[in-house]
Amino acid sequence: MLNFAPTEEQEEIRNLAHSVASEQLRPRARDAEKRGDIAPELMQTLAQTGLTTPFPEAFGGSGAIEAISCTLIAEELGFGDGGLALNVIGSLMGPLAVALAGNESQQQRYIPPFCDERQGYLQRGSFAFAERTGGYTLAEINTTIQWRGEHGFINGTKRSVIHGTGSNPSVVLARQEGTAGAEGLCAVIVPAELEGMSIKRDALKLGLSAAPSASFVFENAAVPGTQVLGKPGNSGVIRAATLYQILRAAVACGMARAALEYAKDYAKDRYAFGRPIASYQGIAFMIAEMAMKLDAARLLVWKAAQSWDKGDECADYTREAESAQYQAIKIAKSATIDAIQVLGGAGFLQDHPAEMWARDAAEME
């Protein structure tokens, strides 16, 4: 039965995430951008909330992943700061992929360190999705893995891998040679150093500087079969990849909402010709448009998250997740650019976060 209200429990989680986002992430966003990473103490604070351990309780987590709740959290974190939100989510996707697609011994090995009460916040994972030849859709994954005996040989590139350096597990999406679309997708854990694999840290990024990233090149890099998460082509890999798309979409909604709220507040207080600029339809309609499109995109994201939770036909939720991701990033890009416009000259200055948000949204592609 149709329902558009989160449960009470989800509302509580969302409120918690909202206060963390506005009290912790937002004020530290510029600092993180300059530093190029999240400050360890901030990560520690986040870890203490339990929001960053969506793993089964058996591994010490706060409960197995549930896409709707995580979508709500991700939007709030994105509202705080898109770069920091993706820093956290990009890291979590490593162990989450293991939780969704890995076998028990892989889960035992890689997940508990993230749940460690004292040191867990220092752990970083990574999830290599996009490539030099495309963006964040399953069809664009062209990195191949070819089996010869006990070893798989990886060929291809990966780009914009958040925490691509120094992460464990470092999970790489590839496809069995000769497959297309969602079929034959594999997730492989690669070690920090591997013959035939070169990693280069991304520098001079346009945006999302608070989420350090790297690019990979694989030339016949050999990994033992035991490094593959679960069986090749298992649905857990598709679920992990799709979850990343959904969470990226949710972060994008948060970025758009941040821009909307900021522009709204500014338009209320800024006067021109004796009236708040919000009272002029040229400004008011722009903001109304942002709000409308954001609501539309958010509903699409929620729909994808619900299908993911229900575990419907994976063809459905992959299509939905990719639509949601596309539409959410679209509104994040337009809302952040429009926020600068509402602020006028002030929007172009680093005194306000709008210019950073517009660069961050553009970097989501």
Partner: protein
């Protein structure tokens, strides 16, 4: 809990309406559009289908389910029927747009008196008269007047763009009891057909929705019993204006649903055209481009539908939904233009098949969805005023 799955009764309402659209509407759609007339048999079929049988059952089933969901069921059905033919769906017998103000502002006695007759198994319609030649969304400038003379209200004025105005058994007519009060002087009156002084003027010829009857109504010293003023629920001064605006909060999701239905019809027909009628030698690169364009329209259709569902769902829960109702109407109004224009452009190289004639009809039908129940600009004004409650946006 966030849930996008339809319940059994919601699914049943959708399937039933789709069947009606497919069997009763699509076959006569082009003919009715060309002749601007609807065969009598259609009215009787609709009367049977909607006031008895499976639809009645779906309604009862819905009532058994915990929450009230009349508006959600309604938007789900409206989308399907507009997919069939939006003009015909506006002509389905029943109180139509007269129902929301009677239900929200009428006393129980008035509800029985005015809505009871619709259950008698005969053909009846209702209409809502708000718009005048001089005013649309700016209802404060209304010039139709109502003056109390003894035990009777005397109505004078002109209304136009009134859907089903000439065939309605009763028209809920908004008039001002005191122009100096502005919008607070507005009251809703129920004017039965045949009341002396109440006459139908011209029937409009339109760009689209041609089978839908759009009438001009003229009130010249039209005398009504005192009891035909709808003022049961609220005695406050704002009651009349609230009734007018409350009607819009309820009808905007419906109009949004109709727009989604037409947009979907155009989108589906275009996809089918590519599959079945694409001319030989059509460039592969161009095909990829139009398919990408359609994919995006498909996503926007889904977003529009969710916005409509949400606004109707809020209404069922009696949550204030002005902003959300305007959002869904504005979004769907924009989308229907995009989808039908794309359909016309993409299928332009083809022969004039029945599919293309329907696409042309939908393009003509579409434009008014960006206009009635508040233009695209008015919707943005409503949204902005809700976003900025403390700012006066003139």
């Amino acid at each position: 809990m966030i849930d996008f799955t339809l319940s059994k009764s919601q699914q049943a309402a959708r399937e039933y309406a789709h069947q009606v659209a497919l069997e009763e509407m699509r076959p006569i759609s082009l003919q009715c559009d060309q002749t601007e007339e609807i065969p009598e048999a259609f009215f009787w079929n609709m009367q049977k289908r909607f006031w008895a049988g499976a639809a009645g059952q779906a309604r009862q089933q819905a009532e058994r389910e915990d929450e009230k969901q009349g508006n959600v069921l309604s938007v789900i059905s409206q989308e399907e029927m507009a997919w069939g033919d939006a003009a015909l769906s506006t002509a389905i017998p029943g109180p139509g747009l007269a129902a929301p103000p009677i239900l929200s502002q009428g006393t129980p006695e008035q509800q029985m008196r005015f809505l009871g007759p619709y259950m008698d198994g005969k053909l009846h319609w209702g209409a809502l008269a708000l718009t005048e030649p001089g005013i649309g969304s700016d209802v404060a400038g209304m010039s139709t007047t109502a003056v109390l003379d003894g035990d009777e209200w005397v109505i004078n004025g002109h209304k136009h763009y009134i859907t089903n105005g000439a065939r309605a058994d009763l028209v809920v007519t908004f008039a001002t009891i005191d122009k100096s009060l502005g919008r607070e002087g507005i009251r809703p009156f129920v004017v039965p057909k045949g009341t002396p002084g109440f006459n139908v003027g011209r029937i409009e010829q339109k760009m689209g929705l041609r089978a839908s009857q759009t009438a001009e109504l003229i009130f010249e010293n039209c005398r009504l019993p005192k009891e035909n003023l709808l003022s049961g629920r609220e005695q406050s001064k704002k009651a009349g204006f609230k009734a007018a605006m409350g009607t819009l909060d309820a009808t905007r999701p419906m109009v949004g649903a109709l727009a989604v239905g037409i947009a979907r019809a155009a989108y589906e027909a275009t996809c089918e055209w590519i599959q079945e009628e694409l001319p030989e030698g059509y460039p592969a690169q161009k095909r990829r481009e139009i398919e990408a364009e359609l994919e995006e329209i498909g996503q926007e259709l889904e977003m529009a539908r969710f916005l409509v569902w949400r606004a109707a769902w809020m209404l069922d829960r009696r949550t204030p939904n002005s902003k959300e109702a305007s959002m869904c109407k504005a979004y769907a109004g924009g989308l229907i233009m995009k989808a039908t224009a794309a359909a016309v452009r993409i299928t332009a190289p083809g022969e004039n098949s029945e599919r293309r004639l329907l696409i042309h009809k939908w393009f003509r039908d579409a434009k008014v969805f960006d206009i009635f129940e508040g233009t695209a600009q008015i919707q943005r004004l409503v949204i902005a005023r809700r976003l900025f409650p403390e700012v006066d946006i003139p």
